[in-house]
Symmetry: C2
């Protein structure tokens, strides 16, 4: 079910290189289908969206928008205790993200010069929520709350109508808890296109976030620049760094909590303890029998799971930085000692009682994280992803004149004489 | 030389729609050439880079890296007064960007729960600097200083060797002033590929920034995800919003300072004063005769220049927000009154003595700005572009147990039973 590798630094590193090659390329046919859908929706508007809904979802709503009343009515079908759990999670998420908020700033100098940076929430954002079992209420919270904290003007959720024409009540409940302003029943590349270009009934947005299938992801990628998009998420992954203080039952459970997402998910344990490695594997075999998604777990652990027994915890840290995982659990005696040494990770889970699902659902940090080693340069979804910044400058006449010679010299060295002229006319006229 | 449009709101808005359609698509042949170069450099390393340098630049350096000694030696050829101007500009840029720096934070709760966000500079960044007259020392400062303020581990500059094998001394001087760590003499898509994949002599970077021709831009776009990249810059643009307090000579000079960049540059004036519009056009005809880049200025004003006379300053603000320009000059009596109303702009220049070249070179705000209306959702290049964030969480056992039922309920509602199991084993074992 899972490979166990034990060896020196080079053996481990070459095995890690192998583990990294996991992501394929988008098929050309998908690229072309999506590009065609985008063009048709751009020119055809609502009717084109509805035609695609009919084709792909087997159903078309009469009006694309779900009214506020319908939304509230439908969401009543959700379990009250689930709703309470959702509200507690949302409160934690809101609190965590509120601390990320950047303020506009102004830097007035003593000489009358003023520079600064204005920070504002985006005007309008679209959040894609997949249909069926791929649509998670927790993801609604994670995508919508940072936008709301950023003071985005209007947050629009889109989700496929499904064959019943009724979206999941739990999704709608999450939308209400998170603060979605409007909901449109449409999915796929056509929904992404409608958000990016706008139609008669769908207002044009400035950014589109949220997970989706390959058609949704490809549509977002193709529309990048027309609108902003979030990271394109690859398959999910966890890396656990553990020393001999760790509980193998916990490690096995955490590896499987990641592996259950899909057959491409990756779950890796790195430890310096051969005994812990062996006991974790034993626990995996035992626990998996009790789990409903056994088949998926076995398939993903089989292909992308690994237990690496390295020579020291220093090596474990080195390998973790090389892998740059989405989720990184530090199941060690002194977890905070590792915080500074672990350089690349989307989200870090410290200690024996901070398992990844705590972060996925409840602790407040975002669960939309960089995958596939991109934690080297990408960051968790945050309030920063829903703002725009504008810099501004103001110079009084006398200060511009003091700077004039420098600016003219720099512009003329770059042979941009009209730039120099713009300063010169202010000196002379 | 420049179109003048006067009319009601609808006339102006439909003219503005027309002005927006300026950017074309990358030719398929460029896409394919670049994709081929990337593959060859990925497998062939240094030798492949050198072969392309020989082919495209007509010259190959023996070693791709320029030594620190050579760098210092060559930069001595630059004019001392230019160097001083560069240093004063760099000091302003450093001061402006230092205020952008985000700190790591920790949020320890009373119950022992800890959440937080660690902020770090990227490990290694590549800065592309075009060869010949397209390589601007000011752009070296604007791309390198934010990276340095972000505490990026290593900043690598690449620039084409040119036929003499010697880069511009002014560029090297700017690199030294800004704080570049290493310089490699290579250009084009092959340089971008070498930075993204790494070669025997070029270390792999985490992000590539800086302007370049269509091959460089296409290479960056294709490698997005392997590394992070900055915005793909479109043609430059200025929008001036002016009331009757403005000086037409200044406005004409500022429009031309943008128009001189290239034939695709756009320069637009919006005012409610017909007289100011007429006088600005007159000044344009007069001043252009004195400028060395007259031909380019006339060509770009001809195609992408415009003077729009609207009915009120409220309309001017509305049109400016619709255009979302890269540079926005507010040449009005009370410029700060407009700061809150102008929603979308890369950089805002307030008042009669804050012309765009002041920002391009000297005031300290970044001159790498979103173009083509993307100021709706993109921001100026900043320290934020050179950091990575990791969130972290720590829960003590008793707090996890308090949250356990909520997490289990949320996970089970989403049918992710292995997630629930990860919490359950900690309750039970």
């Amino acid at each position: 079910m899972i490979r166990v590798v034990k060896g020196d630094r080079d053996t481990c590193l070459s095995f890690i290189e192998e583990l990294k090659t996991r992501v394929g390329e988008t098929e050309k046919s998908v690229e072309e289908t999506v590009s065609d859908i985008l063009k048709k929706v751009k020119s055809g508007g609502d009717e084109a969206v509805k035609a695609y809904s009919r084709k792909f979802d087997g159903w078309t709503p009469e009006t694309l928008e779900l009214s506020r009343t319908e939304m509230k009515e439908l969401s009543k079908d959700c379990d009250p205790s689930f709703l309470e759990s959702l509200r507690r999670a949302a409160a934690n998420i809101r609190e965590f993200h509120a601390r990320q908020k950047q303020q506009s700033r102004i830097d007035p100098m003593g000489n009358g010069v003023i520079t600064g940076q204005r920070v504002r929430g985006l005007h309008r954002v679209g959040v894609y929520v997949p249909g069926g079992t791929a649509g998670y209420p927790s993801s609604v919270l994670m995508n919508v709350i940072p936008a709301q904290v950023a003071e985005v003007g209007e947050i629009i959720m889109v989700t496929p109508p499904g064959r019943t024409g009724k979206p999941d009540p739990n999704i709608l409940a999450a939308a209400l808890v998170a603060g979605v302003d409007r909901v449109f029943l449409m999915g796929g590349a056509q929904a992404v296109a409608a958000l990016a270009y706008g139609t008669e009934s769908v207002p044009k947005v400035d950014k589109i976030v949220g997970p989706g299938n390959i058609f949704v992801a490809t549509a977002k990628k193709q529309l990048y620049g027309v609108v902003d998009i979030d990271m394109i998420a690859g398959p999910s992954e966890i890396l656990i760094v553990a020393d001999d203080s760790a509980n193998p039952e916990y490690l096995a459970a955490d590896l499987m909590s990641q592996a259950e997402h899909d057959r491409l998910a990756s779950a890796i344990l790195i430890t310096n303890s051969e005994q812990l490695a062996a006991e974790t594997v034993k626990a995996l075999y035992r626990q998996v029998e009790t789990l409903s998604r056994k088949e998926i777990i076995e398939a993903s652990l089989d292909r992308f799971g690994a237990v690496i027994v390295c020579e020291s915890m220093e090596q474990a840290v080195e390998f973790a930085n090389d892998l740059a995982p989405e989720h990184l659990e530090v199941c060690c005696q002194d977890p905070f000692e590792y915080l500074g040494r672990l350089d690349n990770a989307g989200s870090v889970f410290l200690g024996h009682y901070s398992p990844e699902p705590l972060g996925d659902y409840f602790a407040g940090a975002n669960h939309v994280l960089p995958t596939g080693g991109t934690a080297r340069f990408f960051s968790p979804l945050s309030v920063d992803d829903f703002i725009k910044k504008s810099s501004f400058i103001y110079y009084p006449k006398e200060e511009l004149l003091k700077a004039a010679d420098d600016i003219i010299r720099l512009a003329e060295t770059e042979e941009l004489t009209a730039h120099a002229n713009s300063i010169r006319v202010r000196k002379e006229l």
